[in-house]
Every structure is written in structure tokens, then in C-alpha cells.
Symmetry: C2
Subunit: 289 residues, 2 copies
């Protein structure tokens, strides 16, 4: 199977994980944001990471979707008027524009909680100890020391000194920890030892940092049409970005170097690492498009 | 140990569960709402339920606090301007009044995710299978078919027919499922079989419904000073409440009957059920205060 086939499997699996007995309006809001397209980068990482370590990725589709639940909840809440106040996401009205703020908040809240139910139940043949560790890893990546914490740092950046240290803390929190969790979950489901898990945690963190540096560069250089969302908002909101700290050329050079480090870390995987290499490559490919 | 001693243990445990490396402002907002008092009804239920089934409740304090994390996140988000728009909670300014809307949203989000990390890690001597089931139970109670779903039904109630069926669906979702989860978690940690778990699930649901009927009555009959929050808001917002469906006297009669059913379900527990009986009794005691 290729990444395209895995993506099709994810698209088909996502709606099945929305709890069927939830109120219709809530399901509609959850599905609206879940099924609004997107690259499915995080769930694909779970599958590609497991495959790189010799596991079959298809049975991991449900667990992989938990990452997309967390990612989607974060997008819905980030777009709220009190946060980034965005009206457009992937070329469509954002959740609160479409459903009102209250339902958008609750759809995000439900997706956040449901992600952990998915990981508790899937992949069902996996030992309970592995699934429990997956819950711990994802909850940490999403919580106060992870994504939610990174959002607070990001929000507080305007006015604070534009240091590399602060930039890396923001990038790690708001983006890289969740991407790292995706890569680590794949390794966990492949049943690796603690040493390989640590190596994949490093790969996941570097991939995540690369992802956000590329995102910062694109926000600076793209049009809204190319992005499918408002462009140039980071600068407008005084956010701390890679180009703000390193300059645009410096940020591009860093991105290339980070890509190289990720690919080096992947070398020991040989041909099984093909899909994971492809995903890392996709992050940088957007920059030269 | 008495309920008072358990409560002290919960008060002491809660702040230790806030992730230490989270950004200071986020920790401050999480702690502000976590430590704002409250009866700690849900964590006490976990401990009392385990005790009723013969387990030692003290080692369950951390896991019990996960319920308070979920409850606290729900209060923060419920109070937001886009939701109930409350400025006062337990006699103090609500989170968004104190910290701004963005940080209030993120503090709630972090508490939601962190609750599942707590259940993945605690109680550490418990089998992984039990902790995994606890994650599943809490995630279901908090998610689309539980609390978040109940909030959507509650929000949509104005204008909809005031039927008993709809009232029970709202009460079950927004309140009772989380209280039920607390009682079920206690049973799980006590290591009971599926039959006893089902009996405690029934007890938990009845206790939760009783709790919300009592809350609806109090909202109608109390002053803001007595409540520590705005009173009479349900009627003002056109919400569907127990007095609206059954009348005030009818709602009081139902509450007494539900209390009786809960106490009957507890009879087989004998003296070990003392604390759980006391907690059920506290719900109704407020009504005659």
C-alpha cells in the first residue's frame, strides 16, 4: 500500500469514530471539521512509523485517527474569535463561523476527549500496556507541557524577546510534540524496545520542528489562496516565527538542514522507511513549490 | 478515614497533578479553577464507591482527581461568554474574567487532556487492563455521548418541547454520565466483576440524575449569595429544567424518590457503604437547608 491508499483508509475510518449516539448537531460539527480535507499528516506518520519498524500499518488506522481528532480540536479552538479569530480554514468557513462559537467550543472539547477513547479501544489486538502507554504519550503531547502549553507561549510571544530559545519552546509545544507523539505511537504499536522508542522520539521531534519552521516560512511567503487560510497573519499578530528569528533565508537553510537530519535518522530503517521518508520530504517540498 | 479526611487528601493531590513544566500562566489558570473550592463530589464518589466494595480508597486519590480535572474544564468552558456567559463561580470571578478568554479556553483544554494522562498513570499498582478501562469509561462520559453532548442538548433546549424524555437526556448527558463514571471507576479499582460494575453503573446514573434535579431546584429557589454563582439563570435562558417539566413540588418529590432508590441500591454494601450513603444524602440535604 502507498501513502495514497493509507490516506483513503484514514478518510474512511475517521467518520466511523464519531460516537453514533451523540446529538446530531454535535456530530455534524465534529464531522465538518474532521472531514474538511487536510493532508492527514499525523495519522499517516503513525502508520509510516510503524511500517518503518516492520509492523503492518493497516490495523493501526483507528488509533492513527486519534491524532487527527486532537489536531482537529486544536484547529477549531485556535480559530475562535478569542484566539486567532480566523474565518477561513482549508478554503471553508471555520467551525464557529459555520455553527456558532458555543458549538465550535463543544465540538473541539468532544474531539479532545474522544481521542483518548479511541486509543483505549484500538488497536484491539495490542496489549493493554501498549495502549495505556499510547494514552499517556498522546495526553502529554496534547496537554499543559505539550500543545496547550505551546499555544499559551505562542499567544504570549508578542512583546517578549525574539530569542531562538523561546522560538524552539513555542514550536516544540504548539506543533512538534503532537507530531512526535504520532511517530512514537507508530513505534509503540510496532512493539519496539525503549531504545528504539527514544530514537523515534528524536526523529518525531525533529520532524515536528521542521514542520513548524516550514509553516512559518509559508505564512510569510504565500497568498491566502495558496494556503486555504489567511496568510501573513503571524507577522500581523506579532507572533514569534522562524523568519523573525533567523530571517527568511536563514529559516530556509535551517529547514533544509533539519530535513537532512531526519533522513539520516531514518537510514537504519532501509526500504521499510520509504513512506516515512516520503512524509518528511513532503514537508520541505511545499517550500520549493 | 472520613469524607473530610478524604477531601483534604484530594485538595493536597490536585495541585501535584498539574504538569510542572507547563508555562507559568497556564499553570496559574489551571490551578485557579482547580483550587477554587467546591465539594469535590466526583473524586469523593470514586473513593467512596471503591470503599463500598471493600477497597482502600486512599491509593485512589490521584485517579479520583482526574474526575475533578474534567469537571473543572467543563465549568471553565461553560462559563465562557459564548456559552453561559457567567462572571461569578463559587463567589470568585470566572476564569475568562480573571485571565481572558483565550487562556480560559486553553486551561480547559489542557485539563481535559491531562485527565487521561492521570488515569493512564494512576493508580500505578492497578493492572494496565483496569486503567485502560478507566480511560475508556471517562472518555465516553466526557465526550460526544456524554458531557459534551449533554451541553449541546442543553443549549438547544430553548424553543424545543419541554418533555420528560428530553429533560432526562439533558440531565444524563450534561451531569449524570460524569457522576456515573466516578462511581464506576471506584468499582473498577475495587476489582469487581461485570455484574457489580453494572449495578454500580445504575447507582451512579441515579445519583447523577438526582444531583441535577437538585441543582435545577436550587437554581430556581436560591439567591446568588447562597449559590456562589448567578441564580435563576436557567429560567432566564429558557433552559429545560426539572421544575419546568414537573413543577417545583413535583421535582422535589422526584428528588426524594431518587434518593430512596440510590439508598436501596446501596443496602447490600452494608457498613462499607457509609461514605457513599453520606454523599448521596448530601445531594438532597441542600434542598431542605
Amino acid at each position: 500500500m502507498t501513502l495514497t491508499a493509507w490516506k483513503a483508509l484514514i478518510e474512511e475510518t475517521l467518520p466511523r469514530l464519531v460516537p453514533p449516539q451523540a446529538p446530531e448537531r454535535l456530530k455534524e460539527a465534529m464531522l465538518y471539521s474532521l472531514m474538511a480535507g487536510g493532508k492527514r499528516f499525523r495519522p499517516l506518520l503513525v502508520m509510516a512509523s510503524a511500517r518503518a519498524l516492520g509492523a503492518h500499518p493497516e490495523p493501526l488506522a483507528e488509533a492513527a485517527c486519534a491524532l487527527e481528532f486532537i489536531h482537529t480540536y486544536s484547529l477549531i479552538h485556535d480559530d475562535l474569535p478569542a484566539m486567532d479569530d480566523d474565518t477561513l480554514r482549508r478554503g471553508m468557513p471555520t467551525s464557529h463561523v459555520r455553527f456558532g462559537e458555543a458549538l465550535a467550543i463543544l465540538a473541539g472539547d468532544a474531539l479532545n476527549s474522544e481521542a483518548f477513547r479511541i486509543l483505549a479501544l484500538h488497536p484491539s489486538p495490542c496489549p493493554a500496556q501498549t495502549r495505556l502507554r499510547a494514552v499517556e504519550v498522546l495526553a502529554w503531547a496534547a496537554g499543559g507541557e505539550g500543545m496547550a502549553g505551546g499555544q499559551v507561549l505562542d499567544m504570549d510571544a508578542p512583546g517578549a524577546p525574539a530569542t531562538e530559545e523561546r522560538l524552539l519552546a513555542i514550536h516544540a509545544g504548539k506543533t512538534a510534540r503532537l507530531i512526535q507523539a504520532a511517530v512514537v505511537l507508530g513505534a509503540l504499536y510496532a512493539g519496539v524496545d525503549a531504545q528504539s522508542e527514544a530514537a523515534f522520539a528524536e526523529l518525531g521531534m525533529k520532524t515536528g520542528l521542521l514542520f513548524q519552521v516550514a509553516d512559518d516560512i509559508l505564512d510569510e511567503t504565500s497568498t491566502a489562496e495558496q494556503m486555504g487560510k489567511s496568510a501573513g497573519k503571524d507577522r500581523e499578530q506579532g507572533k514569534l516565527t522562524a523568519p523573525a528569528v533567523w530571517g527568511l533565508d536563514g529559516a530556509l537553510r535551517r529547514a533544509r538542514a533539519m530535513e537532512g537530519e531526519c533522513l539520516s535518522l531514518l537510514e537504519p530503517c532501509g526500504p521499510a522507511g520509504a513512506e516515512l521518508r516520503e512524509l518528511v520530504g513532503m514537508v520541505c517540498a511545499k517550500l520549493s513549490a
